[in-house]
């Protein structure tokens, strides 16, 4: 081996990709890094996985070359998204590949709903996306109304839209908090939870529950809002922008936050559509797709709002997108308060409805993306097939595309910017 010339500087591997590193090592006369072909990391070596590979992709992920290592993150880890396990293949500190393992919260909701009446289904689906629970009920309610052939009264639709937009404000505020928390900042999450507690107090005045409201029914909503509620809503409206801004001031122009989110996890629009990513993540990549405008449902035809997009598609753009959507939701809430009609809030529908046999598909815009329900009815009291498509589940597929090349510490930051909720991912 020739002597290494002190003038030849081999830069830190973080800055190099493997081809460049090999070339420079050859130039300097060092042995190449990878002298062995990849070995499958079986049970006796590593412990994950503990069986032969079942698929090509599994073999690809769990085959280690020299210098690579498998790191298991989860299912219990300080990131607050819930129980998800990430098996990360790293070389040093750089991520080479990633394999998310889901199912630690799979509760079998779809199967349970096949044995429940249509109204009971609306209570079973609540704990899917538990940060924005009304959205989980909204899509099935629309689908069942399509099957049954009715439409709820106007006041019910306005109530529905009001609570859904309130939940959107709460959920996006929490995303801001979780994003900062996953990077180590503990204050923004406290502000986000203050914001959420105020909204949740309002919503608990309607339905008595703080989180898993039993609010929607086929044909309307169950409880009504009254003048006292609207006066409290007005008080809240007066201070929400200041709350959000107080939180925003801590992070948006923060140098640490910006350097950890700008140009991290860049997702192009084309990739996003191919991966099925929807919602704020898709709009932050520049694609102006919003289900409320593309396939209007409920009263969104009568409300005036724009589809906001950002350029860039990185974590910072996804963060800015959610702040913009908070402001847009507040604007929508203002319009709803202005236009709320009087009238009944529930159509007269029997307790156990038996819609005619048919199929219905209903999609709504939840804070995480396109949330849709495909329901098949066979004329009986229970749905024959009840299928939910959750946006967080599909958005997680972006991770093996966004993570490689980044450091381990960026894993959680990028995942927090995608804002998955494990209840919805695992159903």
């Amino acid at each position: 081996m020739t002597k290494v010339d002190p003038e030849t500087r081999i830069p830190d591997p973080i800055e190099l990709d493997r081809v460049e590193e090999e070339r420079l090592r050859a130039v300097a006369g060092l042995t190449p890094v990878r002298t062995r072909t990849g070995e499958y990391a079986g049970f006796d070596q590593v412990g994950i996985p503990d069986r032969p590979p079942q698929t090509e992709r599994e073999r690809e992920v769990y085959t280690l070359e020299e210098g690579e290592m498998l790191v298991n993150m989860g299912p219990q880890h300080p990131s607050t998204h819930g129980v998800m396990r990430l098996v990360v293949k790293v070389r040093g500190e750089i991520i080479v590949d990633i394999d998310p393992v889901l199912g630690y919260l799979h509760r079998g909701i779809e199967k349970l709903c096949e044995n429940a009446t249509y109204t009971t289904v609306l209570t079973y689906v609540d704990p899917m996306d538990y940060l924005a629970t009304m959205n989980n009920e909204h899509a099935p309610a629309i689908a069942f109304e399509k099957l049954y052939g009715i439409q709820p009264p106007k006041r019910a639709e306005y109530n529905r839209a009001l609570v859904v937009e309130l939940e959107r404000v709460s959920s996006h505020g929490l995303m801001m908090g979780f994003l900062a928390l996953d990077m180590g900042g503990i204050t923004p999450i406290l502000y986000a939870f203050i914001n959420r507690d105020e909204i949740v107090d309002l919503l608990s005045a309607i339905s008595g529950q703080r989180m898993l409201f039993n609010f929607f029914r086929v044909g309307g909503v169950n409880f009504d809002t009254n003048d006292e509620f609207f006066s409290r809503l007005g008080t809240w409206r007066g201070k929400v922008l200041k709350n959000i801004e107080m939180n925003e001031r801590l992070i948006t122009d923060n140098e640490i936050f910006r350097s950890r989110t700008i140009d991290m996890g860049t997702l192009t629009g084309r990739d996003a559509i191919s991966l099925g990513v929807t919602g704020p993540n898709l709009r932050a990549s520049g694609v102006p797709f919003d289900v409320r405008k593309a396939q209007p449902y409920s009263i969104y035809n009568e409300l005036e709002f724009d589809v906001i997009t950002q350029t860039g598609g990185d974590s910072y753009a996804r963060y800015l997108q959610r702040i913009a959507e908070i402001k847009q939701s507040i604007h929508l809430i203002d319009q709803i308060i202005d236009k709320m009609p009087h009238g009944p809030v529930q159509a007269q529908v029997p307790g156990i409805i038996r819609p005619k046999p048919g199929r219905a598909y209903a999609a709504i815009e939840s804070p995480r993306g396109l949330y849709s329900v495909y329901a098949i009815s066979d004329g009986g009291p229970n749905p024959y097939r009840f299928r939910m498509r959750d946006p967080s589940f599909i958005s997680l597929q972006a991770m093996p595309k966004l993570m490689p090349g980044r450091l381990v510490a960026d894993t959680m930051a990028i995942m927090a910017s995608l804002d998955p909720v494990m209840g919805g991912v695992d159903k």
Binding site: Y104, R107, Y124, L212
Partner: protein, 218 residues
Amino acid sequence: MAVDRPTTTSPEPVPPSGNGPIVIPDQAGDDSLLRQFGMEEHPQGGFHGLLEVIPTKADYILDLIRANSLWPLLSGLSCCAIEMMSTATSVNDIDRFGMFPFRASPRQADVLIVAGTLTTKMAGPLVRLWEQMPEPKWCVAMGTCTTSGGRFKRSYSVVQGVDRVMPVDVYVPGCPPRPEGLIYGMMKLHELVKQRRGQWSTFVDRGPQRTRWEGDVR
């Protein structure tokens, strides 16, 4: 010759000497309820309303210290985790009870608040976390999913209550329980801690259970 011996023997009164437990003889072990359930020899059978050991002042202060700085393990699985976080943040603050640091590592935690639905896939990692926690440790089952399976009672992949896999000290019902409810549960846990009534040492591990009915073909 057959001596007719009574079924329960009351222990001999030990004169107070400072070493060894002081048992108050006229009540311990003399309980018809214990006899009925066959619990005379259960390690907690003697606790029927009574402390087996009269604690000294140092023990009392130690228990007070343990109660007022219970460090929970971050074990938020599902929706109850959001309410747990809501309990931990500004409006309902359990930092005033000493529970601010939610430890990420089980080696440093005292309380495992199981917040959220426990599924069969997650049961293994959760029990491993419980076993990694050093004693003394307590477990709080928060929410109805951990108490009994909750709203997922007939599901194929939900463990019907976390007490099937680990000993639970306090059950906090609710779906999800209000933060005030969780704080009430923590106050009950403080009582348990101060009275040294934990379940961790008396748990008999029978493995994961499934209801087996006669004729069950699955």
